[in-house]
Symmetry: C2
Subunit: 404 residues, 2 copies
């Protein structure tokens, strides 16, 4: 195996300046009317005159209010949006009134008190709504029942992912923010490479990487850092523990940063000392699998055609890995933005629809040999058919690297 | 104002050793049959032959599976519990099977695939259930409907907080863990006092405090650190920002650690330089208000009687603060354990029932003058009427302190 020289933090972009951060907030402000108009167009098309959206990502995208990344469980119904053809209301409890005035000045603010179902019903009644679109997979049974009982004349129609579908197509300033989050993660990993050696624990490395991101421009993590050694890297879901690294095995890092609301996600599997011929070959197979999807995307873009489907990408990657044992059972990739997992989906179960454009998603095949080794390579790819561009936003080298 | 000497980290207990951590896991293992039996007793009493519990705290308490603190949004329905008089099942998707085998060996594991409603219905059918208790405020409408449709013979009855009610009464090893989390937080604050001075930002101090907890024995934070300067401390909900500290104002820290699954929660409001006479008087009023509840609890315990109600505590604290302007609108306190906010509640809206015993809760009155100052003092109190004991678990001094 070739010993590549290791990357260093200054190989990657520095965190954004305050001026750049302010510019992104301004871009959001200017884009919000267009975003809301797109949602209203769909409402008109599907014959729904009122809409309830309940995710913090939608609250930020359509109304501007920015919740903390860990705030969903404690915020109650704060951040829920009600929309009609000419009204936009943000439900908040008293804790969030001042923040809503500051960040979401264009929405009406409704303090829903102790009965959010009744507050929604009153708003529907006042706006003469006859149908309400809301997601039965997200809204709690008691609230659904409360609305039904309070405004029996309004038909409740379950809709799924309307906000998410619009957020799948990314604006320029959104892609810039995802790229900035990628650079923070790239620099952080480059900065801790010298700490990776036999004897150090998974949890110590996970904390070092978190600290490097948080002190290097991340306002938060995109998700808890996974740092998994040797056979642990084969676990479908592993938390870093007191397991110590040993020479001749891998360390797998799956991690991401959040910058100005937008997230990154990257996996790198590093060899701690020289790998065996077999392990090196597994790495090559995963890398080849990832390249197959990227090549497929690139050639579709060059030909000016539509992008392949998420399912076609999965097929291409699996074909390129044919013959390797223990090929991944999980999805090949997922969209990313305000949330770590967004539309579109790249997987065996994805639709045959062309991927949207412009958009950003992960490509992350893996090979997992139980109790022995796990290898996954995950990068974020930005595609834009109109601009004929494909950019790998994660810049940390994906070639096999030997550390320790 | 008296200049007290500042606390130092070694004033507080060191983090638990691996042997102590292992002992707590063992205590959980031994206590689980008793916990489950208590739940079954209530089922029998209320005529419900099957129960669905959907919180990660209940999954850990009754079955032993330990999810990460930020895992609720990404875990799907993994961690949901189904219980009958003689069966206990843990719903998990394929990612969590290995973890469930390791941590929850006494429960049956059901891989629910893509349709959790159908998996629940099948289990109910196989166990001949006629009533299912579940929480309509927690369970999503689509899942409620799916179960109703799949097993029309089973009556769905909404129940609220049965797991939470049992978890309000704390075992010895639970209180030890909360105390250990408090000590981690105490040490962390003591360790960053020398960084508090005019010019430093709220967010820099929040990060220093987080880092001191994470490097000082916390496996996670209990919640994001609040570090709010001057007038920001009066905000009902504030995120630490780029605001710089100024001499003559306060810095309010609201923060907590997690140790072996259990959480702490403490607020300290420190003066950055000598306070005005007015501000010092406000601090004294808040401190007096907190003491009123602690005195009320102590005297009930000494007299061997039941504890006061959560509402009576709030009345006592407000009476002791009578005459002060801008007395708190929020609750006086809350139970704490596996979750940051648990039963019992201490507030104007709480019931007249005596507080349970043994239990742990916060006592956190405040005074908030808009755009000028906020002062809150929050401590965790462990009470045990049988043992005639009251212990303040948060040991960082609550007397007014001048820093910077």
């Amino acid at each position: 195996m070739k010993h590549s020289s290791l990357p260093i933090p200054s190989d990657f972009a520095a965190p954004p300046s305050p001026a750049v951060l302010a510019g992104w907030l301004d871009a959001d402000r200017q884009a919000r009317p267009t975003r809301v108009a797109a949602l209203r167009e769909r409402m008109a098309r599907e014959g729904i005159d009122a809409l309830l959206l309940t995710s913090h990502a939608d609250a930020r995208f359509f109304a501007g209010i920015c919740f903390g990344p860990n705030e969903e469980p404690t915020s109650g119904s704060s951040g829920w949006l009600l929309m009609s053809a000419d009204a936009l209301a943000l439900l908040v409890d008293s804790r969030y009134i001042i923040q809503a005035q500051r960040e979401a000045p264009d929405a009406e603010h409704i303090d829903y008190g102790s009965d959010v179902g009744a507050a929604i019903a009153t708003w529907l009644h006042n706006h003469g709504a006859r149908q309400l679109g809301l997601d039965a997979q997200e809204v709690r049974h008691a609230i659904w029942e409360r609305i039904t009982e309070a405004v029996p004349g309004v038909e409740l129609r379950s809709i799924r992912g309307w906000g998410r579908a619009l957020r799948a197509v990314k604006e320029v300033s959104e892609i810039e923010r995802i790229a900035a989050a990628c650079a923070v993660a790239d620099r952080a990993l480059a900065g801790i490479l010298d700490q990776i050696r036999p004897g150090v624990t998974e949890s110590a490395l996970a904390w070092s990487l978190e600290r490097a991101m948080r002190e290097g421009g991340a306002e938060a993590l995109a998700f808890d850092v996974a740092a998994l050694a040797g056979g642990n890297a084969a676990l479908p879901h592993g938390n870093p523990g007191t397991r110590e690294l040993r020479a001749g095995e891998v360390i797998l890092f799956d991690f991401g940063a959040q910058v100005a609301g937008y997230r990154s996600d990257m996996t790198r599997t590093l060899f701690v000392g020289e790998p065996s011929v077999e392990h090196a070959a597994l790495y090559t197979a995963v890398h080849r699998g990832q390249a197959a999807t990227i090549d497929l995307l690139r050639s579709a873009i060059e030909q000016g055609g539509p992008l392949p489907s998420g399912r076609a990408c999965d097929v291409a990657t699996r074909a390129a890995m044919a013959g390797s044992p223990h090929v991944y059972d999980h999805g090949l990739g997922h969209g990313i933005g305000l949330q770590t997992h967004e539309s579109p989906s790249l997987s065996r179960g994805a639709t045959d629809d062309a991927l949207p454009s412009p958009t950003v998603f992960s490509v992350e095949p893996g090979i997992y040999v139980q109790d022995e080794i796990g290898i996954r390579i995950e990068d974020l790819v930005a595609v834009n058919t109109a601009a004929k561009s494909l950019t790998i936003l994660t810049r940390f080298p994906a070639e096999p690297l030997i550390v320790g």
